[in-house]
Symmetry: D2
Subunit: 320 residues, 4 copies
Amino acid sequence: MSTTHSEEPVYDLAQLGHAELLTPVYEDSLRFFVDVYGLDLVAEEGGSAYLRGWGDTELTTLKLTPAARAGLGHVGWRAVSAQALDRRVAALREAGLDGDWIDGDVGHGKAFRFRAPSGQLMEIYYESEKYRPTGEKRPYLPNQPQAEIHRGVGAQRIDHLNILAPDVPETRDVMARALGFKLREYLVPPGQGEVGAWMSLMNKAHDLAITRESAPTSGRLHHLAYAVENREDVLRAADTFSQLGRPIEFGPAKHSRTQGFFLYVIEPGGNRIEVFSGGIHIYAPDWEAVRWTTEAGGRSTAWGLDVPPSFHAHATPVLD
Amino acid sequence: MSTTHSEEPVYDLAQLGHAELLTPVYEDSLRFFVDVYGLDLVAEEGGSAYLRGWGDTELTTLKLTPAARAGLGHVGWRAVSAQALDRRVAALREAGLDGDWIDGDVGHGKAFRFRAPSGQLMEIYYESEKYRPTGEKRPYLPNQPQAEIHRGVGAQRIDHLNILAPDVPETRDVMARALGFKLREYLVPPGQGEVGAWMSLMNKAHDLAITRESAPTSGRLHHLAYAVENREDVLRAADTFSQLGRPIEFGPAKHSRTQGFFLYVIEPGGNRIEVFSGGIHIYAPDWEAVRWTTEAGGRSTAWGLDVPPSFHAHATPVLD
Amino acid sequence: MSTTHSEEPVYDLAQLGHAELLTPVYEDSLRFFVDVYGLDLVAEEGGSAYLRGWGDTELTTLKLTPAARAGLGHVGWRAVSAQALDRRVAALREAGLDGDWIDGDVGHGKAFRFRAPSGQLMEIYYESEKYRPTGEKRPYLPNQPQAEIHRGVGAQRIDHLNILAPDVPETRDVMARALGFKLREYLVPPGQGEVGAWMSLMNKAHDLAITRESAPTSGRLHHLAYAVENREDVLRAADTFSQLGRPIEFGPAKHSRTQGFFLYVIEPGGNRIEVFSGGIHIYAPDWEAVRWTTEAGGRSTAWGLDVPPSFHAHATPVLD
Amino acid sequence: MSTTHSEEPVYDLAQLGHAELLTPVYEDSLRFFVDVYGLDLVAEEGGSAYLRGWGDTELTTLKLTPAARAGLGHVGWRAVSAQALDRRVAALREAGLDGDWIDGDVGHGKAFRFRAPSGQLMEIYYESEKYRPTGEKRPYLPNQPQAEIHRGVGAQRIDHLNILAPDVPETRDVMARALGFKLREYLVPPGQGEVGAWMSLMNKAHDLAITRESAPTSGRLHHLAYAVENREDVLRAADTFSQLGRPIEFGPAKHSRTQGFFLYVIEPGGNRIEVFSGGIHIYAPDWEAVRWTTEAGGRSTAWGLDVPPSFHAHATPVLD
């Protein structure tokens, strides 16, 4: 009956800490994230805006930076301890992914920066600043980080990131070996090789999705997702986006992988943003990665619905 | 800004693996768990029934055993690896909680059994048997362990346990030090000392709740909870229990601690059973345990609703 | 098989048009209805405030008037046509309920005012003013009367009224004969006579509930209800009231009668206000009124939950 | 301020009583409606099956009849009284729509049959048989017609019908004048004339939708809809259809017109079947029909989602 693992699972990273998005229309993007998506602006420093969802425990989870083209500035993964951080830096170097220490940024301390095989800039860190609500930001329940925001969609907390990779197995292998990401599901359509991998750090269905880059480029972002509490909140988000004149690209519907309930919009700068809820939780320490083969590439929903072509074609930076 | 921890968090236990409930009316309890609560009967062996929820990855998560009185037979926590199991056994012994190895049971291999300071029998183990669905038990999505059960409440997967302890801090301290449970919230009403502690292993708000035993006894169970996917499922469970003539003791409502959505019923044997959904998820590795003080002992709901007296008075075994 | 009716059902009244609430703390009540309950203030005239829910088609559905004591000022029922109004005035007079024509009020034209046998002031009218949204009040869907309000609870539209009557059958008989209210359900606990009647005009489970006045008085209000779209909105309202520090008296839960999903709060002036959703819809023209007998007086919920004593004791005006 | 109507609204028809569907694969269709859609089989007589939803008050609301081709056999509208029935028969004749009396069918008495200008066979009737539950069909609440069905989708009650008409205004004009259907919304895309009309009898957003037949034929059915209680039930229906291997054509999503929450499947015989929930309720007796013009023909959802081409192309009978 027993299952034997020669190798122990690693729990050195705790969470997706923050992401930096680049936008060619900084003011419009900022208005979108504050007024429509419902984040709070925590600081503006060095030309960037730092935002947070009302359910985030970190001070800031989104950095918004003006740039010539939309895309992912970098993504930050938080370690469970200072020692764990050191272990992961060593593991990264062992995996041949060297990088540099930076001093820190608004909301967190020193971080080790490296580039994933798929080209995205990443960092790992431990020291960070907690959000301390004051005044009307104080929640009515002490186990909430902040009073609930009812502005726009009211996105609650950062949830996951989907990056594109020319070689999916190569990138997910490094993320697994060096950082302890666990492979939860992967998609291998007949004759296409592995086109998608969904990985998580602890109990989530995914903190990181890696899907295949089909263009001759690298380092691109497919989407960044914040979570809301119930799928009813996703349905209300659909109403809110419609009321506020922001077109929905895809959803609301239920993903096949992760079983999350979702919808996608494109923020003014061009980056794809998800409103996500639910999804399976994974408690088995020896979860066997689920191999999806029967569905052809386009099937992304549990209900078999059609996927709009843009969902597979659009990523940031947009190619010239 | 930084936070410094001298001690690293321990992630050696993965999940609440299973619980054993004792019942003086075995047949009635079994019918309740299968027909009303919606679990599947996996095996009957040695006089006990072994059941599972359709969302459980383990073969069995509930063992039902005939006994003179209702109560908790034992509870099993699953380690993340064989090595982690050994480390926790050593830590238990170091904490002065000695125990014995047993060979295993239906669904899992060798386990180390010990008694918590609060008197409940517990075990930790790693080797376990995965459920392999066949025939009509096969799910339509490969990332579900089993086809969804629509019988009765359709309880999805084991979620958490609430035990009573004469000395709450003593028990939660051992669970923290020896097993790596993290304290998430605790309740200290004015002048009463700590009357409740909510602890979890990884991202959940709680895998284990410990509340104060006010009777001169020990080892009692307050409730066992299975989760459902949405709070709408809890509302439907209320309809289902009512349709099937099973009185609801408390709920549906929203907990203050954990923010879970809940309802409670008493199974025919007398044990309190919860249908639970949602609740906060904890991703910060340095989560600061939330101290609840302003609410007097009786306030268990986020909406300030009255708690029925039985909720504080009833536990199993019932005292003579 | 057939059913034969000698008498035809009457469809001369269309809807609960508006209600007037009296409050001893006008400013506080107004702030509650605008900021917490989420209505819009349409006009202040003659010392009264006129408000509307974002889903109301009438210009105003709530009139708030300063008074020495809380209570119901009057309630207005809208006829389906000018001719129907005349028919109902004749029927009221035939039933011995004389009254007087008034010229109208903000939002509606001439109305015939009379006093129900249970003492509440009522009026029937036809001519009324539609709400015409402009600017940011314009909805994104042309079949919504107004852009959705996300402030506070965001109560959507006026739904029903519960009055107290010393003699329930007497009042409901007049409402049926003179105005065409259809009896949908009634409650006759053993040995108590008829203590409640639920009546509606067309497809709703109730536009008017009449429950027994147990004090030596008349003309009192039990509660006024606005509807929200889904029961999820009632759950969210529970959060909102809690966040805004407004205690919930009863609910969220599911009514036995009407099967509506509900919660109750007391507005600052003392009147009980409901947030209501769902409930059965009645399409059979020969619906047989449902006689409830098995449940004792206190059972108001479909799930058998306890009713707080205040729910049966409190009404407005409060007795000295 | 006032509104003046020279003509009074007519409330002589109460409800969509039943529909008859034709199917070339009777056994498969019957299995679908019982096992997947969740209706109960009430009788099999004269080669047809008679079914009901658990929330229907009529004995039977769906007649399933073997035929060479799928399509609508007939649709039955129930009058509010015997006198109202006679008035409507006279009005039909006055409108030039003659017909014949039939003796009745399982579940209802004599009916007047006529053909709508758009070619569908319709009947109006009053005498009907109520469903009387016995044994385990008895509901736990006396205001439910039957114990809730948890089999398959558990469709609750018949809701509405969408027919195709070569000339939409002609058909809706007759339905209004002769039968008292009220026009609630209509769609007039630029340069296309009126391509859709949504009409109802009392408080619903629609009992009957009429959309343009673009093929050189008449008498076709676009879809038949049963309602479920919450939009969560529609989401669960999507899971259920997927689990049972029945493809979803369109939805779950939210309609623009009616604002109902929906999904569509094609039953084995080829008829399109909807699972519907919610939608606006109309209480104003002088509701002004909403003219939709800004959206081009294909926009059927409130969220601007794409409509699958089959939704506009497929109807029954399918053309050769």
